[in-house]
Structure formats: structure tokens, C-alpha cells
Amino acid sequence: MSDHNYQPQSKFGKWFNDRLPLLTLANHLTDYPTPKNLNYWWTFGGILTFCLITQIVTGLVLAMHYIAHADMAFDSVEHIMRDVNYGWLIRYIHANGASMFFLAVYIHIFRSLFYGSYKSPREIIWIIGIIIYLLMMAAAFMGYVLPWGQMSFWGATVITNLFSAIPLVGEGIVTWLWGGYSVDNPTLTRFFTLHYLIPFLILGLVVLHIWALHVPGNNNPVGIDIKKPSKDTVPFHPYIVIKDGFALLMFMIVFAFFVFYTPNILGHADNYIEADPLVTPAHIVPEWYLLPFYAILRSVPDKLLGVVAMLSAILILAALPWLDTSKIRSAVFRPLYKQFYWILVADVLILGYVGAMPAEGLYLLIARIATAYYFLHFLVILPVLGFKERTLPIPLSITEPILGGSPNLAAAKIEKGLDKLK
């Protein structure tokens, strides 16, 4: 929050702003000093906002035509695809939009992991982000149930059944969630209600996420605190706006390719078969973005412990600011952490892959090793690394490594630093 001394020019503007300082807010948002060295990994925040708004707008239109009833849901989706004007377009944007949303959020999360954006003083931003991510998964899961295809029905059955692992009250909770003794119409209607509600909760949390961001300001690839505003910063508008806009357009090209040319590739063919409680599909698989957690769930032989492992895998992220003991934020100056970071990326991709495969033989073994490593990374490697790792010297300001052909200079300095370590 750089300056609050903004005064509107016009008399009406001043009158209004004294009563509700919207113009001060707008001024803050446009002038917001942003580190000038942000790379394209930082554009995904804006892209995610676009994804959320796209999902809400297309979702509103779909909700006008969709019928949340076990006997009519599948038919109403086909009605949207065939007879609603551009219904096919709206639905394909919404369905692929979910995948695009997750693609962007994973990049956003892994950017944060690489550059240590979760560290003090940005813990609250990070934790709000984790809550948003959890809500996204809930919304996506319930949304996938709405077309009432085979994968919808059986996915809902498998996931809700996880609650039965809770000792003593598990069965009761599952019945309560279902609104009956199996996944049926009451389950569908409540999932629809919640699917409609959650995006607005996310929207509210996004406001808090950005608010919390605007207190300390953006982290940056160098990971140092910068004076704001200074030579190291640029005003958000027009510099960051145009850069985010450019990245968003590139993202939209990929998005459009999926929507117009391979709209069903990220879904499962079985979901075009109407739900049938008497026929179980050969493989029940969640959507791709939930696969790593599905792999963790299945890698534990005990049901309750499997559920605990899966939930911990997500919740452990909330403790990350305290598990990572290193004072240095950016992996650029942490040679060891950088390597472990890429191992973690590979580990999560492997988990995603085995999550799509049957849980048997070699796949199960790989899933178990990858799960163990996932927890090892957060619970052992990160805390120890903070004490043991020899970090590289960090520059004093962003301007130093950037201006006047100084990238080389910075590299030279880093090398000098390395020499000292030897």
C-alpha cells in the first residue's frame, strides 16, 4: 500500500471518494509497484482470474438449461449440446476450462515453490491459496458429477465412500452426504447446489488472496525484498497489465485449441454413457488433475490411512512456510534446493501417471516409492536443507543484476561467490 494521498480531480469524484474510496482503490491497483523482473511464470495469477471468471460466466449459462435430476440430467446436457444456441461451445469451454484452470493453478503453485513465494511475510497469501486450491478440487469433482454419466456416478460413489473410513461415524456420514443409501437424486441436487456456491466462495478468497498480496507486494525471481516504489519497480499499469495480457492470449490459444479441436480428449469416454447403478465401469479414474492424489490414496493398503495420506499430501502444503527453514527465497540462489525441486516435480508427474494406471504390480510399487518421496521432500529434505545448504550470495537489488548489461556481472559475482565456498 504505497500512497493513500490520492485525490480525485473532479468535485463529484472527491465527494464520492470521501464516502466510498473506490477511486483510491482503483488508483492503488493501477499504480501498484511491481518488481520489474517478474518473468512469465508470474503471469498465471492473471490467467487464473480469467479462468475463474470464464467458469462462472459459462456456468451461469449452463445452469439456465441444465436440469439437476437423476432422470433428466444426462438428457439436459445433450439438449445443451444439440438444441441450445451455441450450447456446445459453452459446455466445451466450461468442461475444458476446468482442465485449463488446473493446468494454470499447478504452474502457479510450482512457481511459488521454486521462488519461495510462500515464505515470510507471505504465509497468509499462501494459505489462502491452498484453501482456494482445495475448494477448486471440490468444485471440479462435483461439477464432473453433474452430467450424470457413468464416470460421474461411479466417481461420486468412490469419493464419497472415502468418508466411510472415518471410525465409528463413517457410515453415518456417508449416508448423510448421499441423502440416502446410495448415490442418487438427492446427491445430485446437493452437488449441483454446492457446485454453484463454491465458485463464489473462491471469488471471495481470491479477493483476500490479492489483498494479502498487496500488503508485502510481489515476490520476484531474485527473491529479495525491494523498496517500493523504486528503480526496481514498475507501476502495475500499463507494464504488468500488457504483459499479463500477452501471456493470457497465448494461454487462450491453447485453450481454444482444446475447445474447438479436441474437446473430449481430457474427459473419459464412459461419461457419455448414462449413469447406471447396476453396471460398474472397468476402470474408475478421476480427472487428470486429481490423479497424483488418487495415486497416493491407492498406494496405502489401509483405507483410513490412505485417506489420511491423501489429505495430508494437500494439507502439508499449508505448513510449508515453516517446514522450509531456509532464509533464502529463490531457488536461483539455492543450488541444492533447485535439484530437489525438480525431483519433486518429476515425482508428482510420476504420481499422476501411476494414478491413471491400474493399482497393481510395478505401478503400485512405483506409486508407493513416489508417495514416500513426496512426504520425505516436505518433512525431511526441506527442513534439513535450510540448515545444511550453502546458498549463493544474493544481489542487493533487482536493478543491479538487470541494468547495463549486468546479467553477466551478476553471473560473475555468483561465480566469485562459488569460488569463495570452495
Binding site: 523482473n37 444439440r82 493446468l103 491453447v254 474447438f260 508427474l349
Partner: protein, 259 residues
């Protein structure tokens, strides 16, 4: 820009990886040229019309198509029968309607607005007539099978004698492309089974291709509109992206740093 390319290639690898995962279960299906694939893919009108003929004369005695209406046959991007032809097709079916003023159900000739007439009253009746197996509704069948059009196309031509030592129950047939190789539908197509009015020779291969094309359209009636709009949308986005890129360069040139 270099940084951006790096990011973009990373995304590409990631997408490729997920494609691989999804396409993990691959069977070698019979190949043919589908006119509706690719950026500008369109349906072959005459193939759609022939496919409709195969569907009505062969498949429709068991398989319903509950999401299609006779009006669809005359719509743009489909078989594009003339409206008169579509009306005549609709009128050739008896549709149950009612109740009338006396409270009775009655039958009348079909209209454009009617849904395709179902071969059976309900699922149970369909099962009873087919040895317990329900002939699936064909409206979205192509999208409901992993292999899509290639799978349907191959399945129709995949009937063979069972390998030696394999026992098949009554009413179960061997098909090399079916999951588990056992199928409850007997081989339906044989050379010359239908009489194509446009003079095309009705080989099994030709009929399989035509009816599969028809099923693809039935499952994705707006495919042509989608491809056309997609091309325009992507070209528009690319031009806009280039313009925004140069604007960005201009704006950022005010300060000494690379974007």
C-alpha cells in the same frame, strides 16, 4: 521472449505427457480416411446420407437414437436432406401420440419435430428381445467408446471365427475388436445388404464407413460449425497476440529491461 518460449515448451511437454497417459490403452484399429478430422474437417454429405440409410435399414431395428429428431436430417452441417425429403422420411414412421380429446392414445405419421422412433417400448423390452443384452442407444455412441470412430468402424468388420478352443455360448459372437472379444450382436453387414440409391457399391467396408460417419455426426451435430469457428477464433487470437506483443515491447522499451 526466449524465457517465454522456454515456458511454452514446458507446457507442451506437460500436455504431451497427459495425452500419453490418456491414450495409454491402444489397440490397433482398422484405418480409413475420415473427412471430418483435421482443422477444416467436414462431413461427406453423401456418406452421411448413405449412413442414414444403413442405420434405418439395418441398425434401427434394435438400436434407438433418442436424442435425434427428423428435423436434424435437414439441418446445416448434417446429411442435409432437403426439407421435403426429411418430411417424407418422418412421415414414413408411425408415431404414437396422445391422449386425444377422448383420452385415447393414437398413432399418426411422423413430423419433423418428432424424435427418432424407438425400436422398443423400453429398456426391458429391448433386453427381452435381445437375449438379455441391451442394444445401446446410438446418439452419442461414438463419444462413449474409447476408440471413437475407429473402434466402431473396426468392430463392424471385426467378426471372425473364434480361435480354436474358445467356447461361445448361444447368442455370443467373436469379434476381434470387442473388449474381451465376446459380443452379443451378430454380424450385421454383408456385401450388397443395402441398395445405395447413388450407385455406390455397398461393400461391408463402405457401409461401415458410411454408418460410422453418420454416427459421428449424430454424436457431434455441430462439428462443422465448431471447426469453422475454431479456425477463425484461433487466427483472431494469433493476430491479437502479435499486436499485443509489439505493444508490450513498445511500452517496456521505456525502461531498460527485457520482457
Amino acid at each position: 521472449m526466449k524465457k517465454f518460449l522456454k515456458l511454452f515448451s514446458f507446457l507442451f511437454v506437460l500436455l504431451f505427457f497427459s495425452f500419453q497417459t490418456l491414450a495409454a490403452e491402444k489397440v490397433e484399429y482398422l484405418k480409413t480416411d475420415w473427412s471430418f478430422k483435421g482443422l477444416f474437417g467436414k462431413f461427406d454429405r453423401s456418406s452421411l446420407q448413405r449412413g442414414y440409410q444403413v442405420y434405418t435399414e439395418v441398425c434401427s431395428s434394435c438400436h434407438s437414437m433418442k436424442y435425434l429428431s427428423y428435423r436434424n436430417l435437414a439441418e446445416k452441417g448434417g446429411p442435409e436432406f432437403s426439407e421435403a425429403q426429411a418430411k417424407a422420411i418422418a412421415a414414413s414412421f408411425e408415431v404414437k401420440d396422445g391422449p386425444n380429446e377422448d383420452g385415447d392414445m393414437f398413432t399418426r405419421p411422423g413430423k419433423l419435430s418428432d424424435k427418432f422412433v424407438m425400436p422398443y417400448e423400453n429398456v426391458k423390452a429391448a433386453q427381452a428381445a435381445n437375449g438379455g443384452a441391451y442394444p445401446p442407444d446410438m446418439s452419442v455412441l461414438v463419444k462413449a467408446r474409447g476408440g471413437g470412430v475407429d473402434y466402431i468402424y473396426s468392430l463392424l468388420q471385426g467378426y471372425e471365427d473364434p480361435p480354436i478352443g474358445m467356447e461361445l455360448d448361444d447368442g455370443v459372437y467373436y469379434n476381434k475388436f470387442m473388449y474381451g472379444n465376446k459380443i452379443k450382436m451378430a454380424n450385421q453387414l454383408s456385401d450388397g445388404l443395402v441398395n445405395y440409391s447413388d450407385g455406390t457399391e455397398a461393400t461391408v467396408e463402405q457401409m461401415s464407413k458410411d454408418v460410422t460417419t453418420f454416427l459421428m455426426w449424430a454424436a457431434e451435430p455441430h462439428l462443422e460449425a465448431r471447426h469453422q469457428m475454431g479456425f477463425k477464433a484461433i487466427v483472431y487470437l494469433i493476430i491479437l497476440t502479435i499486436l499485443v506483443y509489439f505493444s508490450m515491447k513498445k511500452i517496456w522499451s521505456r525502461i531498460k529491461t527485457e520482457v
